[in-house]
Amino acid sequence: MIVPKLTAGQSYGLVLLRILVGWHFLYEGIIKAYNPSWTSKSYLLSASILKSFFTWIAAPSRISVIDTLNIIGLIAVGISLLIGIKVRCGCIGGMLLLLLYYLAHPPFPSLPQGPTEGSYWIVNKNLIEMAALYVIYEFPLISVFGIENLFFKHKAKTNLI
């Protein structure tokens, strides 16, 4: 793979982005994991498009598995990005989760927006975070905060990945 040579500022910026997104995923996962009454059921059942799909995954027989998978997913993506291990896998997992969140309540014109802290039209924070994960996927810099360096130090030293 040909990787462009980045300036130190560009590299640190990308690492910072990875850490912040990882931080966010991890914290969301932990808060849910430690709150036994949390469930994604109402979020899924109130989906504004693809209703039959979201109602299907929110069925009583499935919802606890879905909730557990969501928590595990959030935590796994968070760990991956924050400590820098299997970052590209983490990015793909994170993008998939965000895609599901986005599709359940997309900020499309004419669809009910529900309670949000801002104003959105097509683009919302889920989509922006998805884009951030795409950037990280393309530049998974682990020279800093990258535990994978323990195993791939030489490569890391030479091209900052």
Binding site: I30, S42, I79, I83, V144, F145, G146, K153
Partner: protein, 537 residues
């Protein structure tokens, strides 16, 4: 191993810090999330234990086994149809309508819920309705393999036919008491819609009749007594969570034709298909009038206005929680401000009921707090949902199918917890929602109004159940297994007298007092309160 040592020798301190720098961040985020969630959980647990509110459902009514109860329905209009449906008898037209709706909206659960309803082991054997179309609808729908139904021209014939064990009365208000009294005297069990009576004198007669016939089971159709949230609310009051309640606010807010009693007039209605004299009964003589027949709630001669028709719901909702009974006095005012369509009952009303000696309990020094006002405020010209609130010194309770309890910033009971920051004003200290995560399809603005009050359905084991079904089941259980319905003559008497005091105050424009020792509404010398109440003005 040698290779490993070689590998680590290439690392300097800076490399190690850079490589493992994410670990402490990871630890910090995890610890912070876990401790925050743990604190929140402990605080929640602490509050729940402190409040100790039991949100348990009422005990189920008894078995429906034995011989089928033979039922007669008198009045098969809007409410009559709903009651029959709750009894397991939906019209073919309703089933067709719901099947069509299901095609448009596969999520609509009304038909599935109806079909899943328990069989109450009854036969709907008799129908009496003065409008041929209504009666025929029942005959067409309920003459089926397992059930044979017969039409009776008058309620007297139906009651005395020897073919019914019990009747359900869903007629205009002015027929409630006369029919109930006749049935009870004939040994026929009675379920009567609200308001229990249309005037004051028949309220006493009905009470005497019920007492004289202890073996016949009498129930008033205030189905919300089956709503799970109201039982939870009773526990909240019993545990003095709110402290002394000085004000209760209830209301009606509707803004549609159906909600303003502008019901549809059937094409088939004419003097040949309607027994007009029987409809009038004891009401003042009036020429045949379709508007009066179909929209009877708009006239005092047949209906009871907002104070009898709708306030009774709210009065009984609160009375089943607080058991405050008949007020010492009532003042009411209002007018016809939205629907100048010939009606003579008000479409805006405010009723204030005073209970100067009543208390729900206190957290302050003994004797400091006493007395309560119950407010009913209604308009048929706006549907902004104001909710029902019970306002105590220590907390407020918002009441509907859901319950939210808020601590009051000036509370004595929670002062320390508020000071310590463990209770925040504006954040409920307790919430109860039996439908949490559920998706309920509510079909019209008026349905939503009733649903929010807990009048349409309640929940058992997380499943939505028609509260009218549970209320009728309770009555049938009392018929079969003994016992007294939760809304019987005592509760009905309190509801009826309080409503009549509201109607009188509105009409007379003055305070109406209740003499608790003689159990009479105080009239001025020579004043005929029933004549005032029933007058079509």
């Amino acid at each position: 191993m040698a290779n490993d040592n070689n590998f680590f020798r290439k690392w300097n301190r800076r490399d190690i810090l850079k490589t493992l720098g994410g670990i402490p961040l990871f630890g910090a985020v995890w610890y912070s999330g876990a401790s925050l969630a743990g604190d929140a959980k402990r605080e929640k647990q602490f509050l729940l234990e402190t409040l100790n509110i039991k949100a348990s459902p009422p005990p189920a009514s008894g078995p429906m086994s034995g011989k089928p109860v033979r039922l007669g329905i008198i009045g098969f209009g809007i409410r009559g149809e709903q009651l029959c449906r709750a009894l397991g008898f939906a019209t073919t037209a309703w089933i067709k309508e719901k099947q069509d709706l299901l095609v448009q909206n596969p999520k609509d659960t009304s038909l599935a819920e109806y079909k899943a309803q328990e069989n109450l082991n009854i036969k709907l054997v008799a129908i009496c309705d003065v409008f041929d179309t209504h009666a025929q609808k029942a005959l067409d729908s309920f003459n089926r393999g397992d059930n044979k139904i017969k039409r009776f021209r008058t309620h007297t014939e139906l009651i005395n036919s020897g073919e019914v064990d019990a009747i359900v009365i869903a007629t205009p208000d002015h027929w409630h008491a006369p029919m109930a009294i006749e049935a009870l005297n004939a040994g026929v069990h009675v379920y009567v819609e609200k308001p229990m009576t249309h005037n004051i004198s028949e309220t006493y007669t009905l009470r005497e009749t019920v007492h004289k016939n202890p073996k016949t089971i009498f129930a008033v159709g205030h189905q919300h007594r089956q709503t799970q949230s109201f039982l939870t609310a009773q526990d909240i009051i019993a545990k003095n969570i709110l402290g002394h309640v000085s004000l209760v606010e209830t209301n009606t807010n509707r803004n549609d034709d159906n909600g303003a009693w502008q019901y549809e007039i059937a094409d088939t209605a004419n003097p040949q298909t309607i027994d007009w004299d029987q409809f009038l009964g004891n009401a003042p003589k009036e020429a045949f009038n379709l508007e009066h027949f179909f929209r009877w709630r708009k006239w005092w001669a047949y209906g009871s206005g907002l104070s009898g028709d709708l306030m009774t719901h709210d009065f009984d909702r609160i009375n089943c929680i607080l058991k405050m009974g008949i007020p010492n006095s009532v003042t009411a005012s209002g007018g016809i401000y939205t629907h100048h369509d010939g009606r003579n009952v008000p479409d805006v009303i405010q009723v204030n009921m005073e209970y100067p000696d009543f208390s729900t309990g206190s957290s302050q020094v003994a004797g400091k707090e006493k007395g309560m006002t119950f407010i009913y405020s209604a308009t048929l010209g706006n549907q902004f949902d104001r909710g029902t609130v019970l306002m105590g010194h220590d907390g407020s309770m918002e009441l509907g199918n859901r319950i939210s309890v808020y601590a009051d910033p000036g509370s004595t009971k929670y002062a320390d917890l508020i000071k310590e920051g463990r209770i925040e004003a504006g954040v409920p200290i307790y919430q109860y929602d039996p439908a949490v995560n559920g998706t309920d399809a509510v079909t019209s603005a008026t349905s939503k109004y009733f649903a929010n009050k807990g009048l349409l359905w309640t929940y058992r084991d997380g499943k939505r159940v028609d509260s009218t079904f549970l209320h009728l089941r309770e009555w049938l259980s009392c018929i079969r297994n003994g016992g007294t319905p939760s809304c019987s003559i005592k509760e009905g008497f309190e509801e009826a007298i309080s409503a009549h005091m509201g109607g009188l105050s509105y009409k007379l424009g003055r305070r109406i007092d209740w003499d608790r020792s003689t159990e009479r509404i105080i009239a001025k010398p020579g004043e005929d309160l029933d004549a005032v109440l029933l007058a079509n003005k």
